[in-house]
């Protein structure tokens, strides 16, 4: 791996407690998982769709709360990304398990998601600190992932949306892999 570190811009360090309102909102997303399983198990398509919608809205809300309470932190961003992965990964497994979504694309999505998570870990290691890799394309495909689960629960063009997702996610993971593993890390601690 080529590693050309770029010196960090000098700014006063501000410590934000991980016990803050934004992280509480992020953590509350895990509360959506048990009712989601209940809804899918009981065949309640509309309830399952509404629960995943609430989970997605909480994802948007935590950023807003972080802004309002001025408690943004690298840990919070990382926690948000991990929560996205766990919540959406779990829900994808559930819909595939109950036959509401095709298994092959779900498996491909989970493998790509795990590969991306591993690369984020390597990126944080290269940076020498807790840092969340910022990717505009990944932000968009993560929103699509939330929708994917909604398409499965709502029975909306499930095959089309799941198979369309896989090549786009592959392109984005490959693009981000170069930046995370090869390109210089801004603000790396030498």
């Amino acid at each position: 791996m080529v590693s050309t570190a770029v010196p960090a811009p000098t700014a006063p360090a501000r410590v934000v407690s991980p016990w803050n309102p934004a992280n509480a909102v992020t953590a509350s997303r895990f509360l959506c998982l048990p009712p989601f399983v209940w809804a899918v198990h009981g065949g309640h398509h509309q309830w399952a769709t509404i629960i995943i919608l609430v989970c997605g809205l909480l994802d948007k809300l935590d950023g807003l709360v972080a802004k309002i309470f001025d408690c943004r932190s690298p840990f919070g961003e990382m926690f948000d990304a991990i929560t996205d992965g766990i919540c959406y990964g779990f829900c994808l497994l559930v819909v595939a398990w109950y036959g509401w979504a095709p298994a092959i694309p779900v498996a491909a999505i989970l493998i790509l998601g795990l590969a991306n998570t591993a690369m984020r870990g390597i990126y944080a290691k290269r940076a020498g600190r807790t840092v969340n890799y910022k990717s505009y394309a990944m932000e968009r495909i993560v929103a699509y992932t939330g929708y994917l689960i909604g398409f499965a629960t709502g029975g909306m063009e499930v095959t089309y949306f799941f198979w369309a997702y896989v090549p786009m996610m592959t392109i984005i993971v490959l693009h981000d892999a170069k930046r995370m593993l090869i390109d210089a890390v801004p603000g790396a601690q030498l």
Binding site: Q46, Y136, A137, A143, G150, M156, Y160, A164, M168, D183
Partner: protein, 70 residues
């Protein structure tokens, strides 16, 4: 919610956001015109906006398929 209401709920939620997203990322992309493409942040934004447009188009086409238009 009846089946028809639910279908339209999904349509508005998906088609509405996807359509707005295409326009939003087209606008974002137009704002990047003339910026230094060798800057990795500009390059990442550009790539992200292109993918956003593509995702939006996939969403709109999906909604049209859902209603049997395409």
């Amino acid at each position: 919610m009846t089946a028809t209401q639910f279908k339209w709920f999904l349509t508005i939620l998906t088609g509405g956001l996807a359509g707005v997203w295409v326009i939003y990322d087209l606008w974002n992309l137009s704002r990047l015109r003339g910026k230094d493409t060798s800057d990795p942040i500009v390059a990442d934004k550009r790539f992200g906006y292109y993918m956003g447009i593509l995702i939006g188009v996939v969403g709109v086409v999906g909604v049209l398929r859902f209603h049997g238009v395409v």
